[in-house]
Symmetry: C2
């Protein structure tokens, strides 16, 4: 039988829900400290107790083991750049001491963190984001064809040398959003870099179709420490391609692209061949295109709400 | 300026969230009793305290004012038909006594209620559903055209004589799902009844695109008692129409259909002209078709999660 679609969604959205079982939720939350910065009344992420214990915290961090809060303490007139500098310094120390596995996959790419009004607070090296449990943002695009034979989707297989989820199936184009980047520009850039899809095809053809949001706890497949909290937002795009356009690996992250039929995709999902957060982008695509329906997917309602989880952190707002 | 899209969504999804403010949530919940049936460990709805006080409960109802639970008490071997009969009898008594305004809009149409495994528990007259606060299900379809001038949507204006939301704008086709009906069959039936769209157009053309879910507290515009809890699920369908097909009022529920452009629709939304749960179907359509994007809608993320609220009640599963 393999995995059901709901099982695939729950693999991704596996942070407990308070309302489902308050005891389970409380036990889970007890594994973490809240991550905060002074002057901002919001939890920006959750840091595993074992990470808090092991971290070589510089003196500008306040570790409150009673409230279970880790706070970056700064002057009231701090700027985003100031905070970012302190965090970079903190991480640099942890890298020197080889404190954490995930930091061995250093990306030299910074992810932004936002405050309660959607304001930019600071940035942080990408590979450190799960240590702090901050919300990360990405754009995922499904490139598909449609003809008399039906719909097919272009699917890449991740390189066996990737740090995370090696050899698994991925979305046609997918990438994390670095500081200052917006969702659409992210997908235009990644489409060229990862799939050799030119701007002239992507800019007019890619259509924003919503987003999926979920709260993930990392397991061994992600590489590095297990149990890290990773809430994510993926903006989703569709790109209808004609036969003249073929995605091709543009860097060493992808081995090859294959054009898979809907039955082939369903089989690959059920076998668990997709990277978890890519499987849910496919499931969302199937729902939006009437492939999964209320009548053929018994867990339709549960899937729909879990794919759009209301995250309990301040989130980005991409005002013009 | 008029209403923002988030404001329109919140008008619809206005039942407080526990995680936003536990005090506000607790104060709100204190206004209700839980609705239960014996043998099923789940809250099936919320009944306003004032409704519980006023209801002429027959002896097979247990009113526990300490636990704040109203329970239909039956033998363990009860059938769905047995429960439905007791509830019909209970409502008939309330109608005779003219206890409630909403029951004056008696529809002679029954809505189903489901248990924790998606199993059918009983049915209840439609106009009584907000008294018990049960989850109700509907199908909404957006009929649209697309040509060189862009996209336009067919919008009906509700009859001034409708019991609920008279004179407001509606979705092309929309209707509640009676017991035994499935989402797609519901939209095929309603399309013919309300918009004179023939099966030969709707069955091949209507595409399932997901659903929206929200938790509504009724205000004066709905007619009848104010403060009733009304959690809802609307399955959404798109139907692309060519110029040869024009929806026409098929009954007395709609006055006329108009083909509105996207700017006209945005204006009508901002002016609050749409029935609340129809405005959110249009907003969902705008998101799914790239009209609202992360870059032009500042509340994109909040809107997406509120439109797919995880409801804390057992829900339907339309297994084949």
């Amino acid at each position: 039988m393999g995995f059901s679609n709901l099982e695939l969604v729950i693999q991704c959205d596996n942070f407990p829900y308070f309302e489902d079982n308050q005891t389970v939720y409380a036990e889970h939350i007890a594994k973490y400290y809240e991550f905060r910065v002074s002057g901002i009344d919001a939890t920006l992420g959750y840091i595993l107790n074992s990470v808090v214990d092991k971290f070589p915290w510089p003196q500008y961090w306040q570790i409150d083991s009673r409230l279970k809060r880790v706070t970056l303490v700064t002057a009231a007139n701090v700027t985003a750049a100031d905070r970012s500098k302190l965090i970079a310094e903190t991480l640099s120390e942890a890298v020197k001491k080889e404190s954490f596995e995930v930091l061995k996959g250093w990306r030299s790419e910074n992810y932004p963190v936002f405050g309660p009004g959607g304001e930019y607070l600071f940035e942080m090296e990408r590979s450190a984001s799960p240590l702090f449990g901050i919300v990360t943002y990405g754009s995922h695009m499904t490139g598909y064809t449609e003809d008399a034979e039906g719909m097919k989707i272009w699917v890449p297989r991740r390189s066996k040398n990737k740090q995370t989820y090696p050899g698994m199936l991925d979305n046609t184009v997918a990438g994390g959003m670095a500081t200052g980047e917006r969702p659409f520009e992210c997908i235009v850039r990644e489409a060229l870099e990862e799939a050799s899809l030119p701007e002239s095809v992507v800019r007019p053809g890619a259509i924003a179709r919503g987003c999926i949001t979920y709260s993930h706890i990392r397991d061994a497949r992600a590489g590095g420490e297990v149990g890290l909290s990773q809430p994510e937002i993926e903006f989703v795009y569709d790109l209808k391609l004609d036969a003249s356009v073929t995605p091709k690996p543009g860097d060493n992250e992808v081995d090859a692209f294959e054009l898979l039929s809907i039955p082939e995709l369903k089989d690959a999902l059920a076998r668990g061949e997709f990277k978890p957060n890519c499987s849910v982008v496919i499931i969302d695509f199937f729902i939006r295109h009437g492939i999964l329906t209320p009548e053929n997917e018994p867990d339709y309602l549960d899937i729909m709400s879990r794919l759009h989880r209301r995250l309990q952190y301040p989130l980005a707002s991409y005002r013009q």
